[in-house]
Amino acid sequence: MRVRRLSKTGALAATACLVLASCGGGSDSDEESSSGPQTLTIWHYYTADGQIAALERQNQLFAESNPDVEFEVVQIPFEQLPTRLLSTATTQDGPDIVLDNVVVDFPALAGSGVLTDLTPYWEEYADADQVSDSSVWRLDDEVYNVMSYTNLLGLYYNADILDELGIEPPETVDEFQAALEQVADDGQYTPLTMSGAPTVEGAWMYFPLLLGEGVDYCNLDDATLEDALSRLQSWSEDGILPREAANWDQTDAWTQFASGDAAFGINGNWNLGAAADLPFELGSTQYPAGSDGSRVFPGGEGLGIGAFADDPDLAWQYIEDAWLSPEAGLINFEDSGQIPTRADVASQPEVADDELVAPFVEAASNTASWPLNEETAQMQTVIGQVGSSVISGESDAAEAAERGVTGVEDAKEEGGGGCA
């Protein structure tokens, strides 16, 4: 048995080393004396300046009332964070706090035992009623992640270009299509920028076209997916969406939009932090609505406590004070533009009265549900791949739709068949 355990240990260490994860950065309680300062180790993958600035200010906020607490903030590359977190099961040494990509990794992380069950804390939390239920992530009725903010997709527009061409900000997919065609016909500007990468990012960008028709990962069908992919294909073929969007991630797409040469950009609210620096007047509206309205998937990071945290009570206190408190929510919003999940914070004038933010706040009230399946990452990746393939011209919409639906169904089945 001991041999078996050791061999697992080696395998997990190898798995971690495969992604060049370093072995440092975990909690270091052994080095602390019982009377010395406590250290909270925080793992995150933030790269945006606004998000990092918010994290620093929120840590300061906590430090003001907890001067004996020090922080060890560890920035880990986006794609390495879940693997490193999974490997903590072997090392028995991980972060106190982790900000994970909850919408993709939650089933894997929560199911693997590397996150602490937050249920007792959440049940005792006095302001739980202020946080929308979709921001509380449960597996088998146990809470493992809580979101203090959410990131949503919307439609940005260059108001200068729209004014010049006499276009009103579109609200529906049909209006959006007409506006895009008008910009394309004019020929001066790129009509649209959005990520079409063959990844979960790319899937997130165009899936709202299906959500607007009442279709999500759990009831995906050939016809609706084909319609959405046909639209992407026509956008690419008609010069509305540059073909190179097939490889663009969200940052690439925003960079293109921010250059001022594009009329529309589908992207997330986290870019609002940089809105003041743009060389044109920025506008925003909700993702164009289909026959079932405008719906997007909620994004953002989940707050969790590592299963091997030195002091889970202190870690929860940190989550409450530095993330879930109204003051922390406003700091985070000011620095990063991310939408607070607390209803009382979202209704504050600083948030609610901001015209650029309002569409995202509205979207937050009617979000779709992610598939709760261990293979959700695979499901989303397949959808991203088929989107990229039609934008590039590698596949036509019908063939890609068939591949997409089959891939999602296979992944769903492999993940136990559950979804909602």
Partner: protein
Amino acid sequence: MTSTAGVTDSAGGAPPAVAEEPAPGGPGETRRGLPRPHLAAYLVPAVVVCAALGVYPIVQMVRMSVSDVGPATLIADWEFLGAENYREVLDSDTFWPAVRATLVFTGVLLVVDLVIGYVAAAVLARPSRLTSAVLSLMVFVWALPPLVSGSVWKFLLAGDGLVNSTLELVGLPAVDWLSDPDLALWSVSLVAAWASLPFAILIIRGGMLAIPTEVLEAASLDGAGPVRQAVSVVIPLLRPTLAVLTILVVLYAFRSFDFVYVMTSGGPGTVTTTLPFLAYQEAFRTYSFGIGAAIASVLMVVIALLAVPYAWGVRKEESA
């Protein structure tokens, strides 16, 4: 070389005549006076490190490839599946296109590194100030991390990047280097070849400089021109070097993942998804560790098969 061979042979039980050769620059009595077990002890740290960091993870990877390992079972007992993961990999829609992409990738690297590498090495074999400058530049290119050079090339090959701007400047249309499904794999392969070319040039040039000038002078006196010399003298003499280089390039291609990751993420669609990238995607993006390990194991077998002739070739060159 002689000293290394002497130590290795002594430890490995080679004939006493070899073991008793004195090391150049050293008195030789130290080795002669040490018992073999004592010398073998010096190898223990290296063997332990190799076993811990090389052999043991490989064994575990192979175990993983025949087991049901996902995020929920990573720290539990692994259910033995036999060849099921391999069967699933071989039957999947993504594996064979990835094999094809890997072969194209490898082919481009081989052609560029061997053909252009040979020509460039021949030019750089002549000493001059320019040669020194070019060699320094090549070492710089070679030393660049793939993540850095890949990112730079991604910008250069973008729709409004320097390459397309230059094309438009001379009246040619812009090209979707990384998003055209017919071009993307070639573009990424060529960038990877560009990055590995300095290594190939340095190796071939080293081989060329080792050819005795008397041989080339004799060929010249016999009336052989540059082409004839290359075909009949230089290339035959370089054959062991080129064989080893070929194997190294193939090994590099079969584990080359960085440029795909940085430049295209395997796209558009799955056009540039090579086997190493597919293994990474399965293991670390969708957390199908068993499937990812199965793909990696297939790759490892190919690499191991190539490593044998490589080791044999090196040994042959050393003993020549």
